[in-house]
Amino acid sequence: MTLGGMLSGPPAIVAAGVDVFSDALRAQGADVHDVDWRPPGFGDPADLAALALDPRRASANRTAVERVLAAGAQLVDVRPARDVLDVPDHTLLHAGPPIDWSRASGPLRGALIGACLYEGWADSEESAERMLAAGEIALDPCHHHRTVGPMAGVVSPSMWMWCLQDPVHGGQAYCSLNEGLGKVLRYGAYGPEVVDRLHWMSNVLGPVLAAAVRGPLDAGSDPIDVKSILAQMLQMGDEGHNRNRAGSALTLRELAPALVEVDAPSSDISAVLRFIGGNEHFFLNLGMPTAKLALDAARDIPGATMLTVMARNGTDFGIQTAGTGDRWFTGPANTPVGLFLGDYGPDDANPDIGDSAITETYGVGGFSMAAAPAIVRFVGGTVPDALATTERMYQLTLAENPAMAIPVLGFRGAPTGIDVLKVARTGWLPQINTGMAGRVAGTGQVGAGLVQPPQECFEQALVALAEAARAA
């Protein structure tokens, strides 16, 4: 085929720009497809051109995407954070880009207070606040420690962590155990029932899960393939961020045989089974590190314009790209739009928070909304809206993930690998599905809905990527 085959027969034409050419082609009976071209949503034209022409870009993005698609995720252990994370004492991890106490939002402050109480570093809310405000407790993003945390994402040394491993690239990723919904630490609640539950999780849930995971491994079984569960749940009405029903049930199915063999009082086993069975988001904390493993595999590829992180701390939204290493590009987090629990309303909602947007960065969550049309009802949307959202996300992404097939789109792979250049050119921002935390510390969850990143993050990333392209 020469010149893309156009000399061998009348070519189909894809046209961007003025109508007069397309009209003339149609008059000839040619097969013409007009693109609904618009000037880019943002970005200096010279920066856009520098990136479009960067000879490294195509192969760098191909490498990035191949790594993301190839990465696997095996559940290999459950252990206390202090044993697996390289974090100094009196340090708390949190979701999103770096932040200090003075700028922390209500739900992040609430979760930090709760973690101090849970660790016994403070004996009252007031003393916890004083210690945090005085900087006696260090704060560091989860993402700096191969970890992701939903909502506030606070991780303290005694919390038990899912330990996942990528058998292809050898990476590791960690995530805490999901507490359930309502008044929970990750939504900023820190009352006695929250701290009591955390203690039960570290005294009973963690050790029992650890035994249930390690037992079969020690007996020679293969690790649980978490990526495969994520793939299957997309076929079952979940999108892996705001809806994890099927995934949680599948996980329980995987764990149950080993759980009942754990050497623990049957009342504990029963409590664990009931806790997992009663928590429709139990899988979220497994899906997030699955995505994290894949995106960490694509870090540090010069010339790549693909996102490796989208994360929020309740104040700022931050992104990182494969071509710019660990550098954060941040902007003020938006407040989600959606449905509220009980009497809560829009005024009660905190701005966007959590590392869980790693799922969208991986192509599931809001990007696979078409797999879970139930989610769009959060914003009064319809099934066609869900399909259109995913259709739009294909134009922001570099690849389709054949492992994450979306049934209603003809089993098309999830739109995967967000390209900063495509975001700028289409002017469309990534779609994120999320829970909503109460803005006042201690409130807990107030609702769930949909949100987008601030454009600023992408504007900064575009400038940095273009600078790097010119310097290359």
């Binding site: 027969g9 082609l25 022409l53 393939d225 089993f411 289409t426």
Partner: protein
């Protein structure tokens, strides 16, 4: 995928392939469809494509297609038996294709418009011929063109204002990808019979054109058509392609492609004079091709475009026809008058100046033969003047004069109203993309000019098959008092005759 006859047991004849794949999950319904598709292939005797669950492993064992060693239910089992190695290889390839194939949804595609060339091309069937055409503002054209190249498609960039270093980068990337960048600032191409931009309805035939000049390509292809000779393709390369900076990147690729094209027997390269180093490179490349390449280069030393076409016809052993014309009413010569060439096509304006300058001396222009003859902004200067209304400086913020005649009509009226004796020389270009009835717009101005005693000569570039129809337009222009010629060179010489300055 149910009953497997016992006869297909382990001892069954033929060759088999059994493999396990990790990280691939597909639902059982899809896998059953794949199995069915593959089992229908010639030479395939047994197929099982399924997740390696205990049930499926048992099925495979019954078929004599059990995998060796351990497997897990997350793995995809692909097991095929065939009559020959070839059939087995074909089946393996078909399994891969079937697993990768995506059912395209049609329900929602209309709801979400494609915003970029990349997204638009992504919707097409990968192996069918396709190309992109880009007319967005120049500063944004690069990203769209880069999309096409990345998708392995050739692209016509009509947009101007693309920096030359971007043009070079695009053309280098296109060369590496085996595709062609036509442009930037390329308005004319014909690809496999499809006319892109400003192009005429010409018959198909053995002559391939590579054109760094749009109206030049239109003149040449129309004259060939009038001589009964068709074109295979007209590949535009953009006006700067043969400059030192670009080095003929697209010209060289276009020549090579036409050389490989079975429908192309001869190539004519239409351009302004290339940079000397580029001319040498193109000449050397052309000499290595099996297809004969001739150049129609516009310069003081070389023949005009019509003469180049005539030479090509002679090469082909064909007679040179009498080029169509409508002499119009007899008008008295106006010796000593000024030539007023008002053109929409840059190459045709150049050709007119090259032919007229030896007879008339200096001709001032907005695209002059020498820099010191530049008109500046005064389009109503006295003396011999040739203006290219299609020049970038005159199309900022307005459509090309082939579409919007306003500026040129004002200039014609200005010549008719002025005291200076003059002969008007115009081009009218027909074809796709051009004014659907240019004569209708011109007739009132031409009538006024004729009434004012200003003879009007028109180079009418087009074919009978063009939407406007050459004869219909020629008759209308002649009726308004113009002398009409299919050849711009003939029109220019006629105007020189009227000026008493035939060279």
């Amino acid at each position: 995928m149910s009953a497997t006859p016992p006869s297909a047991a382990p001892s069954a004849p033929g060759v088999r392939s059994v493999s396990l794949r990790s990280g691939v999950y597909a639902d059982s319904v899809r896998l059953m469809q794949v199995s069915r598709e593959i089992s229908a292939l010639d030479g395939v005797t047994a197929v099982l494509v399924a997740m390696a669950t205990p049930l499926n492993l048992e099925l495979a064992a019954n078929m004599g297609l059990a995998p060796d060693g351990d497997s897990s239910p997350e793995q995809l089992l692909i097991a095929v038996r065939a009559e020959s190695d070839d059939a087995l290889a074909a089946a393996a390839a078909a399994v891969d294709a079937a697993l990768a194939a995506r059912e395209r949804s049609t329900g929602t595609a209309a709801a979400v418009p494609q915003r970029t060339i990349g997204a638009g091309l992504d919707e097409l069937t990968p192996d069918d011929p396709a190309l992109a055409i880009i007319s967005v503002p120049g500063q944004y054209a690069v990203a769209e063109a880069a999309d096409a190249i990345a998708a392995g498609r050739s692209v016509l960039v009509f947009s101007d204002g693309v920096p030359v270093e971007h043009e070079v980068a695009l053309k280098q990337a296109a060369h590496a990808a085996g595709v062609l960048v036509m442009g930037p600032d390329c308005g004319t191409a014909i690809v496999s019979g499809v006319a892109l931009g400003f192009a005429n309805v010409v018959r198909s035939g053995p002559v391939g054109l590579v054109a760094a000049s749009g109206t030049g390509a239109q003149q040449v292809s129309c004259l060939l058509d009038m001589a009964g000779v068709g074109v295979s393709h007209v590949l535009g390369v953009g006006g700067r392609d043969l400059s030192e900076a670009v080095g003929g990147l697209a010209t060289l690729d276009a020549l090579a492609a036409l050389d490989a094209d079975p429908g192309t027997e001869r190539v004519l390269l239409v351009s302004k004079p290339p940079a000397p180093s580029v001319a040498a490179a193109v000449e050397a490349a052309a000499a290595d091709l099996s297809v004969p390449v001739r150049s129609a280069v516009l310069s003081p030393e070389t023949p005009d475009l019509t003469a180049a076409v005539e030479t090509l016809l002679t090469d082909m052993g064909l007679d040179v026809p009498t080029w169509p014309s409508r002499p119009g009413p007899a008008v008295a010569a106006v010796p000593g008058a000024a030539l007023k060439g008002l053109y929409s096509g840059g190459t045709l304006a150049d050709e007119a100046m090259l032919l007229a300058a030896p007879a008339l001396g200096d001709i001032r222009s907005n695209t002059p033969l020498r820099p010191d003859l530049h008109l500046g902004t005064d389009l109503s200067a006295t003396g011999h003047v040739v203006i290219d209304f299609g020049d970038d400086a005159l199309t900022v913020g307005r459509a090309h004069p082939m579409i919007d005649p306003t500026l040129r009509l004002e200039a014609i009226a200005g010549v008719a109203a002025a005291d200076e004796p003059a002969v008007l020389l115009l081009d009218v270009v027909l074809g796709y993309g051009a004014d659907p009835d240019p004569a209708a717009a011109l007739v009132p101005s031409l009538t006024a000019a004729a009434r004012a005693g200003v003879p009007v000569v028109v180079a009418l570039v087009g074919t009978e098959a063009d939407p406007q129809g050459w004869s219909r337009q020629a008759d209308a222009l002649a009726a308004a008092g113009a002398a009409v010629f299919a050849s711009n060179a003939a029109a220019t010489r006629y105007a020189l005759d009227l000026l008493g300055a035939a060279g």
